[in-house]
Symmetry: C2
Subunit: 276 residues, 2 copies
């Protein structure tokens, strides 16, 4: 195994994996190697471009911390997140569709009682959110756990506000016996994903905008059901047809209604698929 050229090297790398114990891991790593090698050959990547790629990933790593996830953002803008979600969520008719997880989820958000104001001081027009979690037969799923997160009227999540100590506009809720949930929050706004890092550079180099249509994030769990990671989008948003991360599903768009007092309300029911 000396003097490998840019064709023979691919099989040489794959041959190293002959003793890999885990067949699933072997399938994945071998496929990744073949596709990455094909990419490098196809574009005839120069050494300077290779260095630029290493530098790009290094800077993605440097900007990533417990509150910033540039690798998820990268996967999102390359369409890899939505591709993976779409491929794995071919649910039966009637189940709520899934969409991207995104980079702004935080583990261990505060738990709120139903009806509470999860905005917790986040700036925005008040918005009341309600709905029911059901199974595919229409039966309520009692005590389903909802993890909700959203941006404020400036288009920022709490973790994007420097020095903010408490969670804002994110929280965990438990549906009632009839699968109902309801809480006070703020109106979601269209926002730009963070463009101050390497992914922003990539978007600018690509001539792409960085905007996402307004949405609420939900992750809903209940025993015996597939975890649902999804959004509820706002009807009439300018970016529904050009979401920077390709996540819009027509079935997830809701009418967020403006009330006479200037506040909003939105209702959305979720249908979880049975666990496989």
């Amino acid at each position: 195994m000396r003097n490998l050229d840019h064709h023979t090297i691919t099989q040489a790398v794959l041959d190293r994996h002959a003793n890999t114990d885990n067949p699933r891991f072997k399938l994945i790593i071998d496929s990744l190697i073949r596709h990455l090698h094909d990419f490098v050959r196809e574009v005839e990547l120069t050494e300077a471009e290779w260095f630029a790629g290493i530098d790009f990933l290094t800077r993605c790593g440097a900007i990533t911390d417990s509150k910033r996830q540039e690798f998820i953002l990268l996967s999102d803008v390359l369409g890899l997140s939505m591709l993976t979600v779409a491929m794995n969520n071919d649910k039966p008719e009637g189940c709520t569709e899934a969409t991207v997880f995104g980079p702004f989820h935080v583990e261990g958000a505060p738990h709120y009682e139903l009806g509470a104001d999860i905005s917790n001081g986040a700036r925005g027009t008040p918005c009341f959110v309600q709905g029911t979690v059901r199974d595919p037969e229409g039966r309520p799923i009692p005590h389903a756990k909802l993890d909700v997160w959203q941006s404020d009227e400036d288009g920022l999540y709490d973790v994007q506000h420097e020095g903010l100590a408490q969670a804002q506009a994110r929280g965990m809720l438990t549906a009632d016996e009839q699968g109902r949930f309801y809480f006070q929050s703020i109106l979601a706004s269209a926002y730009s994903i963070p463009t101050d890092g390497p992914v922003g550079e990539l978007l600018r180099a690509s001539g792409r905008h960085s905007w996402r249509p307004a949405h609420l994030h939900f992750m809903i769990k209940a025993p015996g059901f597939e975890t649902l990671i999804t959004h509820v989008f706002r009807k009439d948003d300018d970016y529904l047809d050009s979401d920077a991360v390709f996540g819009v599903r027509q079935s997830l768009i809701a009418d967020w209604m403006r009330k006479d007092d200037g506040t909003y309300e939105v209702a959305f029911d979720f249908v979880l698929n049975a666990a496989k």
Copy 2:
């Protein structure tokens, strides 16, 4: 652009790049997207596997700093580095072959006079290194700049020793009027690439060893010539045929001779290609 499925999403992402200014960037990013999407579809990547991939890259980022470069290491073990090097260094007959840059180069290594001991206290059996830098016609290249780096007898580079303040076993030298260079250092040893990070996990999961045959790194620059990034390997090393990063070239193997006093010496001449 709603309701993209795992087939239609690829073209949707490519369509976003319609306004990309730089045709070379467009070629590269579009090819990368196509190949990564094909990979995800081919292996039917699950969401859990996607999260594991994000976590892997995140941990590569977290362990990378000014002295540790896990992304280069990853590229090296996947064969992407050597593939890129091989593809870009199809030099004329007689020119010294290139090999991988590796993760252990440091910018701004100390400059030494010819004949100096660049080990600077690194542990190892003394070894004298000499040679000449020439052009393809055999003419010496006066004042060529050599950047040299190597591991010590424990198989570690200076940057891998916690708390070491000074550069050891690395330095810059300037060839003399006749293109000659010579310096004192230590014997290079076979070593394991770092396995305490994500790349180590990948090697273990793949059933691969992590060893590289003993070598000296050289980066040689001279006006009017292509920069040469290469190694000189030690004959008879156990790992010449299974280098963890696929970098061995038969033409780069030298006989490191043991002298009567137990020290070593090695001579190697470099031939730089004319700049394009």
